[in-house]
């Protein structure tokens, strides 16, 4: 699904003394079937932006198109269900939102809310649990008997069960151990290759270069830059000025270049870094 923002602005608590700009003049198109990373300092507007994609927040000005659906400041809350079924949102620490007695009931909640029959929802729950790598016998367990990492998988299964076309992930690996992180990122990467669009809010630049093909940098509620990972990380000074980090491989290569190593290659991930070094020394 293509997502486009035209002159979108959002003001928190408009017309009150607490008025505060959330987004300003956002013009941006995210292509269908992309893996887009949203980066920027805390408070830069990333989370406000993603909440507009499934109309949890509505713009105070401008227009948003998500597939066939248009969202404007006047959009009625009534007809948003189809949109929210197509755009699945995984919030930070989603495990804190589990509430049902069994894993199965918890995963079924979303699909049934979007109008699936109980039988269909059961089927979807089974499939989604499998997608997140948990065995079927977990369906009968209480979500509260699971480990933190497993609870997070169940919460993600709950979003996948509605079969959204676009998946929005807000720091989905925060707090996980390295193995858990890798498994989780591999899951999202597989979903991407199975045809879903992924929008990932992250502070982790290694995830950006390892998985994303498209990057949007937010700063003070505006889009500061939009491009491929290599375009975004090409300008070290700009990255620093925007309070961002360079991926480790980029930083390492920059230091070697500063020493005098001559190459036009710009490695982004460790595999490319090793190749560049071995080819040039």
């Amino acid at each position: 699904m293509e997502i486009s923002f035209k002159q979108v602005g959002f003001i928190y608590q408009q017309n009150t003394p607490m008025e505060n700009i959330g987004l300003e003049d956002i013009n941006l198109t995210i292509n269908d079937h992309s893996f887009t990373a949203l980066i920027g300092h805390t408070g830069s507007g990333k989370s406000t932006f993603v909440q507009h994609i499934n109309a949890l927040l509505k713009p105070t000005s401008g227009e948003i198109k998500v597939g066939e659906k248009t969202i404007t400041p006047e959009t009625n809350n009534k007809d948003l269900k189809p949109l929210r079924q197509q755009v699945g949102m995984v919030f930070q620490f989603p495990e804190s939102q589990l509430f049902e007695e069994t894993v199965e009931r918890d995963i079924m909640f979303g699909p049934m809310n979007f109008g699936m029959s109980e039988e269909e929802a059961k089927q979807m729950a089974k499939k989604a649990l499998h997608q997140v790598g948990l065995p079927e016998e977990y369906l009968e367990k209480s979500p509260f008997d699971l480990s933190g990492g497993q609870m997070r998988r169940v919460a993600i299964a709950g979003v996948l069960a509605s079969n959204p076309k676009t998946l929005i992930l807000d720091e989905p690996t925060a707090g996980l151990d390295p193995e858990g992180r890798l498994e989780m990122m591999t899951l999202f990467n597989n979903l991407y290759h199975e045809g879903k669009s992924i929008i990932l809010v992250t502070h982790n630049m290694e995830d950006v270069v390892n998985y994303a093909d498209d990057v949007v940098v937010f700063n003070h509620g505006k889009v500061a830059k939009h491009g491929t990972p290599s375009e975004i990380f090409a300008d070290e000074q700009w990255i620093k000025d925007n309070n961002l980090e360079l991926p480790r491989s980029v930083e390492f290569m920059n230091q070697l270049k500063a020493k005098g190593l001559k190459t036009t290659d710009n490695p982004l991930v460790i595999k490319e870094l090793i190749e560049t070094i071995t080819n040039n020394i």
């Binding site: 925060a174 707090g175 151990d177 480790r248 390492f252 460790i270 070094i277 071995t278």
Partner: protein
């Protein structure tokens, strides 16, 4: 006279209903003013060990001595005064409506006089560079700032040992750096002993000692240099290589002539450059 602040001797622990011991024959000394990183996969016994140290869990097998006191039912409260813990989730550890109330909470529990309490709160907030936020609502702070307040709450109680229980795992990279810097500073300034339980290998490289646990057993306790150059150990413990060591090993495997010894990022770049010039 030893300078160990914690001595653990032949400690065993088994959870009720568990088939196997969660900790097996743990014997280790933690030196005063050291920074010990405890690493190991989930289920390795890291959390069990810290819970035993603080008397949250109890065992009849083995002996724990903290700051010269043997841990028993009689000493557990005195030992808890010596050990401060900062937990993983900054949002789960606030009780006060303002930052200063929150830091004061632990002091109130210890019955510290009002005037002294005020002083200690301000001084603790200064140490974590959060004094300007004293009257703010903790919920309005960033993750890194929240953890700094949590650290202030611990420091105000003047512990000798501070345990960071995955305290940086939920923070962004700048928040993480902030916390590490502050703890490094406090360790020097207050002669603190730091024990950090962490999955972040980059954080482990900054420790003075690394304690590697696997399935309830200590595999090794040594400097980060020794730990991260012991390949068999890394595989056994399921530890990742830090970025710099990963690059180094991959280059060596490709035949680049650089030494196999421990280097930081700057050192490795120097070695690669030397190898380049020697061609």
């Amino acid at each position: 006279m030893t300078n160990s602040i914690i001595q653990i001797n032949d400690l065993n622990y088994r959870y009720e209903e568990a088939a196997d011991n969660a900790l097996k024959n743990i014997t280790v000394d933690i030196e005063q003013n050291s920074w010990t990183a405890i690493v190991g996969q989930n289920g390795s016994g890291k959390s069990t060990l810290t819970k035993l140290l603080n008397g949250i869990l109890q065992t009849n097998e083995g002996k724990i001595v903290v700051n010269g006191m043997e841990l028993t039912d009689e000493t557990v409260w005195d030992i808890r005064k010596v050990i401060g813990i900062v937990f993983q989730n900054p949002d789960n550890q606030f009780v006060g409506a303002t930052v200063e109330d929150d830091v004061a909470f632990g002091l109130e529990n210890q019955g510290i006089a009002q005037s002294e309490m005020k002083e200690r709160v301000i001084s603790a907030l200064k140490k974590v560079r959060m004094e300007e936020f004293a009257t703010r609502d903790p919920q309005s702070l960033s993750g890194g700032q929240k953890q700094r307040v949590a650290i202030a709450g611990v420091i105000a109680l003047e512990p000798k040992i501070i345990i960071l229980d995955e305290a940086t795992s939920m923070l962004d990279p700048s928040g993480r750096r902030e916390i590490i810097q502050i703890i490094q500073g406090l360790r020097k300034e207050l002669d603190l002993t730091v024990i950090s339980i962490t999955h972040d290998v980059e954080e482990v490289t900054l420790a003075s000692d690394v304690l590697v646990l696997s399935k309830g057993v200590i595999l090794k306790k040594d400097s980060p240099e020794k730990i991260f150059t012991d390949k068999d150990l890394l595989i056994k413990a399921g530890l990742q290589l830090p970025f710099v060591q990963d690059v180094q090993q991959q280059l060596i495997a490709k035949g680049v002539s650089i030494p196999d010894t421990w280097h930081d990022e700057e050192g490795l770049i120097e070695e690669i450059w030397k190898s380049h010039l020697n061609k």
